[in-house]
């Protein structure tokens, strides 16, 4: 083979797939395949989640229905706790999943490999979050099935409350994922800070009232003020109002929660994308896409 032929072969421009949707599908599919490679973990996670529902059922037997109803959340503690437990999986997934996944790619040296392909990195990063959403969705459905089918919990299933809960849920995902994008961007550059993201997630879970009515924080104004800084607090409040009390978007409290979450999303989402973009450009510029 002549030198000129060789050069021609190597310089040949092969058209590559550039459609964002195809790329997104590819990233998601690879994540899903990896997820199902760890079947035993999936089964263990699922069974542990069911066990936690049963555990809160027995905790609920000790709760005084009158005390719970005085806080305005009905008389069924299990219904109250289930909404918190089911959505807290999503909270963790939004806040820490992407940064964890990027660190994993950096350690495995695969982020650099993906970066030299024509895959759009924003598509790649968003695709990486889907696996966490899928796992959380499986757990959420499992929790509600066990709670309603096995433990007799009754939620308000009319269209009005369901639509309100769905909107609040979507806004919860957007606002918390935006925080997750910020964490991922910072962790990408500084290679540390994962513990901070975990700390924020666990404080968020504690102060948003996953297992207790937020009214209990009234005696601690500082904690109450901090809890109001997390979007999850409003999402949990609104979803409980919808699914336990049957409130729809016409309810002033639910509408306030929606508006606050919309505000969080509108402010945090552009910041999240900007920080993620900055993080990626920085590690490319300083050549640290595979160093940790």
């Amino acid at each position: 083979m002549k030198q000129a032929e060789l050069i021609e072969i190597l310089t040949e421009d092969k058209p590559r797939v550039k459609l964002p949707l195809r790329q997104f599908y590819g990233v998601v599919w690879s994540s899903v395949k990896m997820m199902f490679a760890y079947k035993s973990w999936m089964i263990m996670d699922l069974l542990s989640t069911f066990a936690s529902v049963v555990m809160y059922y027995f905790v609920g037997l000790q709760v005084n229905p009158l005390s719970l109803s005085q806080t305005g959340w009905g008389t069924n503690y299990l219904a109250f706790a289930l909404i918190g437990v089911a959505t807290s999986n999503y909270l963790w997934s939004c806040l820490v999943r992407l940064s964890h996944s990027i660190q994993h790619e950096i350690r495995g040296g695969t982020l650099e490999t993906v970066a030299v392909t024509p895959v759009d990195m924003l598509t790649f990063f968003i695709g990486q979050t889907v696996r966490g959403y899928l796992v959380s969705l499986i757990l959420l459905v499992g929790i509600f099935v066990v709670g309603t089918g096995g433990m007799g919990v009754e939620f308000q299933m009319m269209p009005g409350p369901l639509i309100a809960a769905l909107i609040l849920f979507i806004l919860m995902l957007i606002s918390n994922q935006a925080l997750g994008l910020i964490a991922a961007g910072v962790i990408m550059v500084y290679k540390r800070g994962d513990p901070i993201a975990f700390l924020v997630a666990s404080m968020n879970e504690f102060l948003a009232g996953v297992l207790y009515p937020l009214e209990m924080l009234g005696a601690f104004p500082l904690l109450q003020a901090i809890s109001m800084m997390f979007p999850y607090t409003y999402a949990l409040d609104g979803m409980r109002r919808a699914l336990i009390l049957g409130a729809s978007l016409a309810d002033a409290n639910v509408l306030t929660d929606v508006l606050v979450l919309f505000g969080f999303s509108a402010v945090l989402a552009p910041i999240g994308f900007a920080v993620l973009n900055w993080g990626y450009r920085t590690i490319r510029a300083n050549g640290s896409t595979s160093s940790y």
């Binding site: 905790v59 000790q62 404080m203 207790y212």
Partner: protein, 290 residues
């Protein structure tokens, strides 16, 4: 060099330094401490996680009625009940899962084969790997109990109840080392997942009375709790720390006897299970595989 000379050279018995078990365990502890201390931020985070769990149940305790606790023979104090449950359950979970994780890390890094090909028996290896995990667990235990005390948990302490609680804690550690060794054997062979520790964790959360007295469970579920050492440990410790009872109490003596029985029966079984897994992994040459 002639063949005989080479054989003689390679076959020479060089006397090795005899190191006692205590020295080896000390070396394991120092090594693990150095590794642990490099992750200071994670240590802080782990403590925060344990403390927020305790604090969460402070708020839950405000809406709980303690009737079931009184029926079970404890003082009417849900906060103290859950503080003891969470603190000791977290203690055994972190110690037991820490041992499995340590075995996994040794396999992953390829250091397990190196250690076990030296003059360190697998029993000393297991003891060395366990001790530091229980030391770290104790750190979390004290932090959780102190947090409980700060937020209003009330412990009824006498010299007798403190000494009895110490005896029960020693039995708790010994009985859960057994569970840890079983988990380590499973991870050695299976290399993924951690079925023993996982099953132990969620079954004890459900059936050992961490957050509620066992009397709330239907009768057909209560017998499951009777199979776990944590059930007896929590019952005895609560009677000591909440009620101020000591080993002179029949209930606490019964708990201590059950724990002792568990250790006597299960320790040889767990060591045998680990040995079978260890020998099988060695035969396959898979000690360094993950």
């Amino acid at each position: 060099m002639k063949l005989e000379e080479i054989i003689e050279f390679l076959g020479e018995r060089v006397p090795r330094l005899e190191v006692g078990v205590l020295e080896k365990v000390k070396a394991f502890v120092i090594r693990d401490f150095k590794t642990w201390w490099t992750y200071r931020l994670w240590v802080l985070l782990d403590i925060t996680g344990a403390l927020t769990s305790v604090a969460t149940y402070y708020f839950v305790s405000k809406i709980v009625t303690p009737t079931a606790l009184v029926s079970a023979g404890y003082t009417a104090d849900f906060l103290t009940f859950t503080v003891i449950g969470i603190a000791f359950q977290h203690y055994v979970w972190s110690s037991v899962s820490g041992l499995s994780e340590a075995i996994r890390d040794e396999q992953y890094d390829g250091t397990m084969e190196t250690i076990l090909s030296s003059r360190t028996s697998f029993r000393v290896f297991l003891l060395g790997e366990s001790v530091f995990r229980f030391m770290v667990g104790s750190y979390f235990l004290i932090a959780s109990l102190a947090m409980g005390l700060i937020i209003g948990a009330k412990f009824n302490l006498t010299l007798g109840s403190i000494l009895s609680a110490i005896v029960l804690t020693i039995l708790l550690i010994a009985s859960h080392m057994v569970v840890g060794v079983l988990g380590a054997g499973a991870i050695l062979k299976l290399k993924e997942g951690d079925p023993i520790v996982w099953a132990f964790t969620w079954l004890t959360q459900l059936f050992s009375g961490v957050l509620y007295p066992l009397g709330l469970l239907p009768g057909y579920l209560q017998w499951i709790g009777a199979a776990f050492p944590l059930t007896y440990s929590l019952d005895g410790l609560r009677r000591c720390l909440m009620n101020g009872e000591d080993l002179a109490s029949a209930a606490i003596l019964g708990d201590a006897a059950n724990l002792l029985l568990f250790i006597v029966v299960m320790l040889p079984v767990s060591l045998w299970v680990f040995k079978v897994a260890y020998d099988s992994t060695r035969r396959e040459g898979a000690l360094g595989q993950y």
